[in-house]
């Protein structure tokens, strides 16, 4: 009769010398993500298909949200507060800010929850986990592009033409994408550990809507505070740059946009670093 094998002598814990370490997690991140780009596409496509298959109004939702907000802002700020816009129709002025804000807040909301909501997939699939928040950002980007068509209609209705400097808006756009990615990465990986963020996030974003020059212009902020403001909230100089280039035919305020870019870069690297660190424990806590 065979007796069960005796338990071999095992120490209580591993020697510190063999602690597992990932090699260059942050340096490898961009390459990993690039190799998984088709996965980002697949996930975003899945999201978009599912989104518009289920909703009766479909694509219309992408347009209805910013339009209704724009109407509210137009009534409240233009009629009541009479915000100066420098001769630009207020609806256009506000809508430019709203579309870019919606891209940011929509990305942070859906991307921030992307890991938590797709935990079964996160736990079963070997891929750079950044693909989940990134695909949410891609979905929001598609919605924002659809919403941007309304801007064209607004231009026609108001008989207002975008200025010749409009192509320069690509620069603040790149900064905004980087900033959005940075914040979305930070929020998504911390939410896995601190689920309360799910409730705190809408409140913070609601405040952000008013703390960002969307209904009003950047010049409403006292001049001496603007540099500090641009560092804390890069969306300020970003949205201001959109307006300067598209609506006023001027160059962006490079100094403020530069400050915003600087803090965006710091946040982006920090976001990647934190993400790659917390990522190692995702499957443990979920």
């Amino acid at each position: 009769m065979t007796s069960p094998a005796p338990t071999p002598a095992i120490p209580d814990g591993p020697p510190e010398s063999i602690r597992f370490k990932r090699r260059n997690p942050v340096l490898r991140a961009p390459g990993d993500i690039w190799r998984a780009r088709s996965l980002v596409r697949s996930l975003a496509e899945r999201e978009l298909r599912a989104l518009y298959k289920q909703a009766a109004l479909g694509v219309a939702w992408a347009v209805l949200t910013p339009i209704s907000l724009m109407l509210v802002l137009t009534i409240v700020f233009q009629r009541v507060a009479n915000v100066p816009t420098g001769g630009v129709p207020y609806s256009i002025f506000a809508y430019v800010g709203l579309v870019s804000w919606n891209f940011f807040s929509g990305s942070v909301t859906s991307g921030g929850m992307s890991l938590v909501n797709q935990m079964p997939l996160v736990n079963k699939l070997n891929c750079p986990r950044e693909v989940f928040p990134l695909s949410s950002i891609a979905v929001t980007a598609v919605n924002s592009i659809i919403a941007s068509f309304v801007l064209v209609i607004l231009f026609v209705i108001n008989g207002f033409a975008p200025k010749i400097t409009s192509p320069v808006a690509i620069i603040p756009l790149i900064v905004q994408i980087a900033f959005t990615v940075a914040i979305t990465l930070l929020v998504s990986c911390t939410t896995v550990y601190l689920r309360d963020l799910r409730h705190a996030l809408p409140i913070i974003l609601q405040l952000g809507l008013f703390a960002t020059p969307i209904a009003y212009g950047l010049e409403q902020i006292p001049e001496q505070w603007r540099p500090l403001y641009s560092i804390v909230n890069p969306l300020g100089p970003i949205i201001d740059s959109y307006r300067e280039t598209i609506l006023y035919g001027r160059m962006p305020n490079w100094y403020l946009l530069g400050l915003g870019t600087l803090s965006t870069l710091v946040l982006l690297i920090g976001g990647l670093k934190l993400f790659r660190r917390l990522d190692m424990g995702f499957a443990d806590v979920a």
Partner: protein, 404 residues
């Protein structure tokens, strides 16, 4: 990944993994509370994998076995790359196809067709590669026209067939499978085993986690038994399963009294005083030879009923059973049952008995009376991928007549 290692090989060295043992969800509230000075911040941990080392060469087929919570799935998750160890080194070389939970990648709102492309993408196939395999996948999954229906209207079996089929046509260097076979019907399970066998023949390495020991035995050549996160046995699959089974029996069947080593019988209105298994001369039973079961039963009164004696591999389901109408006197009755040709192969088995008088009162519940070892002939070889229902071994004579 180091280039000098062959695709399809795995090296694991001194792997340790721990989990937090306070399982309560940690919310911001808790963080704030523990930030107070003097709050107990020391986290409690428990080790789920301890000092695991093993190696896989291309084409190896390993079954990971062990009780629930022994660390099998954790080990597989680390190999898949979704979890990270606390200490140690591991290397997984080549393309990994992992089937941790086949339905995980499917999206209910999309059709089967859309899901095949999506899931293929998730598993690392390009659109082009999925298109090439599309017909094979649909055929293997037996979906037919359901392919253009939303997956949320699929039965669970259809969803899991879809998931497995996509993964099975990945043609990976290493296939990691966790209990994926448990869902399908037996027809589909057999097809999955067939597919795994095909992949093995093409040189794919396989790590299979399953509680279905017959499935493990049929596909795997090697068995690794984990017990409480410690690697107990790493040897050929039959021996590993045998040792694991023996431990399972000892751990879960409490009929052996720990101090005396005597059998402890469940209370019935009839007591089992003795149950012994031997060969004709009182020695160790031998495969294909005579088996003698000696029973002594103690009944409170005269009673008539059916006495069943069965032989099992440890579970309650017998490989065979013999039943006889029996009359018990008040007091002790000796009963001897002789089986002329014991049809089981050499190994460790269990004798179970039951007595039912039909009046619902005077009976012995179906229970094991203890293990016994059978000597002699072992099991004949089974084709790879074929499941043997039980360890029955019969004699056969083979001839090769000239006039075919």
């Amino acid at each position: 990944m180091s280039p000098e290692r062959a695709a399809g090989s795995i090296q694991v060295e001194q792997l340790w993994k721990r989990f937090r043992s306070d399982k309560a969800p940690r919310a911001l509230r808790d963080r704030v509370l523990t930030m107070r000075p003097g709050a107990n911040t020391a986290d409690k941990f428990r080790w789920v994998l301890r000092d695991i080392s093993f190696e896989l060469v291309p084409g190896d087929a390993v079954g990971l076995i062990g009780a629930n919570g022994s660390g099998k799935s954790t080990l597989l998750k680390i190999l898949t790359g979704v979890m990270y160890p606390y200490a140690g080194r591991y290397e997984v070389n080549g393309r990994v196809g992992a089937l941790l939970e086949v339905r995980a990648g499917l999206h209910g709102d999309l059709t089967g067709r859309e899901n095949i492309y999506l899931y293929g993408g998730l598993l690392g196939l390009s659109r082009q590669q999925v298109t090439e395999r599309f017909d094979d996948i649909v055929e293997f999954a037996v979906l037919e026209d359901a392919i253009d229906r939303q997956v949320k209207f699929y039965s669970s079996g259809m969803g899991m067939r879809l998931g497995f089929s996509v993964a099975a046509f990945l043609e990976p260097d290493i296939l990691l499978v966790d209990e994926a076979l448990a869902v399908g019907d037996s027809f589909f399970q057999q097809r999955c085993l067939d597919r795994m066998r095909d992949l093995l023949r093409q040189g794919t390495s396989l790590v299979l986690v399953s509680h279905d020991m017959a499935a493990v035995e049929s596909v795997c050549r090697r068995g690794i038994w984990l017990k409480d996160g410690v690697l107990q046995v790493d040897t050929d699959v039959r021996s590993a399963l045998g040792e694991y089974r023996t431990w399972l029996d000892d751990a879960y069947h409490t009929w052996i009294d720990e101090t005396s080593g005597e059998a402890v019988f469940r209370p019935g209105t009839i007591d089992v005083i003795k149950a012994e298994v031997a060969n004709a001369t009182g020695g160790l039973p031998t495969s294909g030879k005579e088996l003698v079961v000696d029973l002594v039963l103690d009944s409170p009164r005269d009673v008539e009923g059916d006495l069943c004696v069965g032989v099992t591999e440890g579970t309650a389901s017998p490989m065979f059973i013999v039943t006889e109408g029996t009359r018990l006197r008040e007091g002790r009755t000796r009963i001897r049952c002789t089986i002329p040709h014991l049809p089981v192969a050499a190994g460790r088995y269990y004798l179970w008995i039951e007595f039912d008088s039909g009046d619902g009162e005077t009976r012995i519940p179906w229970q094991p009376t203890g293990p016994f070892t059978v000597d002699g002939r072992g099991l004949d070889r089974t084709p790879i991928g074929v499941m043997r229902a039980s360890a029955i071994q019969v004699d056969a004579s083979w001839t090769a007549p000239e006039d075919a």
